[in-house]
């Protein structure tokens, strides 16, 4: 008789079980929400954004894009970069430091295509996901590459230079660090494009440190050595400013066509004044945002749409700079400034 009672008891418990669970289900709104909050605070991935520098408008815009994505995808973002854009050693130290600090992914822009490879491989072998933005590094362990199609951007710059109406085009090239992959690719795109036009002749080509001061001096030296130059082309934000200042100082705004890269408030002012005639504007905000988005996708095991993403570029000239589209491309929307 005892056993029989036991069975009945168990039967009753079984019958009540779903009912109690259902009842508890009615109050589950709070219950589930609490649970969700808890889990989200438990796992927060850490992503290091290591760039070539931290103080140019370009990298600030990359950071603000990355920041927007890290807020959206709930990632911890650490943003750092060396003082100047040639310092690959500091970058390597930063990579190692980020790995030992427990970064789950590194969004990286290489100063030096070769010299950064080892540190990146080291990090990747420890299981850190590597996403390259803007400037590539010589590593097969990179999960995803996001950036401007540099060759195409170079071609755009070339076409802008060929727009110049003068019968002979004496071109001077002011490029930055020779080891930086993106600068070289842009220059190649530019050279390939202008080579198709018989008016064009590249009379001088210099590589300068990526700094406004040095670029300005070197450009002035180049213009002094080759007074026939009527087109100057340059490939990043700092050298663009340097070339712009050189033109301003030499008062050559009307006689020289300058094709430059990237935008900040100063170079936009130069564009307006005619010291710079065309800006190839990249989309750094998108690079930062997409870099973080890819990091999130990789860390959560989603597959990426593509291992190589090209962000848009736009050619801005004095004529179109206040078009709606160009406004959007060259002036960052920041509610605080």
């Amino acid at each position: 008789m005892k056993n029989k009672k036991k069975i009945t008891l168990v039967g009753i418990i079984i019958a009540l079980l779903p009912c109690t669970l259902l009842l508890s289900g009615c109050g589950k709104d709070e219950f589930l929400n609490n649970k969700k909050d808890n889990t989200s605070s438990v796992k927060k991935y850490q992503v290091a954004l290591i760039t070539k520098s931290t103080n140019s408008a370009f990298w600030k815009s990359v950071y603000s894009g990355a920041n927007a994505a890290s807020a959206e995808y709930n990632l911890n973002l650490i943003f750092e970069g060396p003082e100047n854009e040639e310092d690959y050693e500091t970058q390597n130290t930063m990579i190692d430091q980020a790995v030992s600090d427990g970064a789950d992914a590194i969004v990286f822009s290489a100063v030096d295509y070769m010299a950064n490879a080892e540190a990146i491989n080291r990090a990747a072998n420890k299981g850190v996901k590597i996403i390259v933005i803007d400037s590539d590094v010589n590593s097969s362990l990179v999960s995803c590459r996001i950036g401007t199609d540099n060759y195409e951007a170079g071609c755009t710059a070339g076409k802008a230079a060929l727009e110049c109406g003068s019968p002979v085009l004496h071109i001077g090239i002011v490029n930055f660090d020779k080891n930086s992959e993106n600068g070289q690719t842009r220059e190649k795109g530019f050279r390939d494009t202008v080579a198709k036009d018989e008016r064009a002749e590249i009379v001088a080509s210099i590589n300068v440190l990526s700094s406004t001061e040095i670029a300005k001096e070197e450009t002035m030296k180049m213009l002094a050595a080759h007074p026939e130059i009527n087109i100057v082309v340059t490939f990043n934000e700092w050298t663009s400013l340097g070339v712009g200042y050189a033109i301003r100082e030499l008062d050559m705004a009307d006689t020289t066509t300058v094709v430059a890269f990237d935008s900040n408030v100063v170079s936009v002012g130069m564009l307006e004044l005619g010291e710079v005639d065309a800006l190839v504007v990249q989309n750094p905000y998108a690079m930062g945002y997409l870099g973080m988005e890819s990091a999130y996708q990789l860390l959560n095991g989603f597959s990426l749409d593509s291992e190589e993403v090209n962000t848009s570029t736009m050619l801005v000239t004095r004529e179109n700079m206040y078009n709606e589209e160009c406004q959007r491309a060259i002036f960052a929307f920041d509610k605080e400034n």
Binding site: L17, P18, A68, R328, F333
Partner: protein
Amino acid sequence: MSGKDKKENGISWNISLSGIFTTLVTFIVLVTSIAVMLIFIRIYRRTMEENAVTGSEQTIVQVQNTLENYTNDMRSVMDIIQNNITEDGADRDEFIRGLVKVRSDVVAIMTYDERGNLTDCWSDGRETKEKWLKNLSYIELTKNGDKFNITKPHVESLFVDYYPWVVTLSQRLTDYDGKEIQVTMDIRFSNIANYVDDVGIGQHGYCYIIDNKGNIIYHPQQQLIYSGLKEENTGNLQEGTFVRSNVIYTVHTLENCNWRIVGVCYVDEMITAKVEKLGRLLLIILSLVLIASFAVGWIFSKLFSKPAKNLADAIGSFEGNAEHFHFKQVRGTSEINALSSSFGHMVIRIQRLMEKVREEEVILRKTELKALQAQINPHFLYNTLDAIAWLCEGGRNQDAEEMVNSLARLFRISISRGHELIPIKKEVQHAESYLKIEKFRYKNQFTYSIDVDEECLGYLCNKITLQPIIENAIYHGLNRMVDEGMIKIGIHQSGEDILFTVEDNGVGMTREQCSEILYRESGDRTGIGIKNVNDRIKIYFGSSFGLMITSELDKGTCVTIRMPKVREGEYSEK
């Protein structure tokens, strides 16, 4: 839950009780909980959707109120400016400069003349460009159009190195000296932006501001849209709340200007995610129920089904081997215990009954056999007596005497005071007496020899063992022969046993005949049969003892009898 048996007439399912129980419980719980869950999810979904719509509506109304306050505020600022500008006081500049300083969201206030030339510009210490490419803040207002206008966002293009995104408020008014002028005020978003950014509808919902042409005034993800990373559907939004491809849109137009507020929230996100969680909960419940019902099944099986099966198995094996069956009590529910103990009692009673029956049978057989032995074959007696009479008649008194002595010994030993087991010595005398009588009767048609191991004589054997075999050898083996017959009798030891052999050189038997003799009851004429001898030995000593016949046609027959060595007093008759 258990296997199925196929039987000749159709298929029958052989399912255990606990299996049925488990399946039923699981099934019922499964069906009811799924049904309840589905109904619940349906109601929940509908409620959530209604909540989402009303929630969205409420939020957007709040935003609308706030923004109306904001734009009203801007208008009142505009009114103040208007009052001051038309007054042409000396402190006009002072006042407007102060206003720009105090209102951090006002970037610049400008006045234009009829032809659109900038006449005055006040800003918070910003340096205006010497020449500008394009003034994005100036918009030519139509004379008869709305006097108050708000532009879509643009970059402030008048200052050196300062390009904030602004919207421009423009108003036409009449100057102190009667000239038509236009006043514009560039406003940054910071206040609106901070407010709009914080508006959340549901988990991932948001709201944004557009003008009546669909241009985005402010969006929480403005830079994403400007960078081409995100697109927002701004065209063709009718007033009110509507659901379009799983997105709830709530659109309200501000009363005092051409701005519209669009609230976006995702039905799927709010509802489907929760329904998914419910589904997960359901799965957990179901698995719990499954585990529980298996546990119940297990308990049930342990308490009832398994003992029942054990009991059935026990009954089965009892059926197969009743004699040596040993019953172990089966434990289970009280019913099972009762069944088990009754079965135990029954087994013991049946085994006792069987034992009793067997004993009675043995006793009966022994009695029967004794009765048979006591019988004297009348034909044999008549024939012998005839022969003796014939000897007396012929005056062969010595032979007659010997015959009478032999006959007397034969009977004496046959009776043996009712003992079944007699010394082998006596049995040999019995056989010899019989052979003598028969030899006379058959007029010396055969000879015989008896070869006995002296050591065997002291052991016991069943009485009348050899005689029926000799009788068989004479009647069936030698009688039909033309040549002189020969019977050899041997008694020897074989390990722990004693072997009796009776050999003749008669006609022999086929294999079938041999086995027939061992199992056929003897007829009236032939006294105690060979079967009887065999049966008696087996009854007394067990089945490993008894007769064995080997025979070959026209060569002869050999009967071997195996018996254990038994001494006087060692075998107590039952």
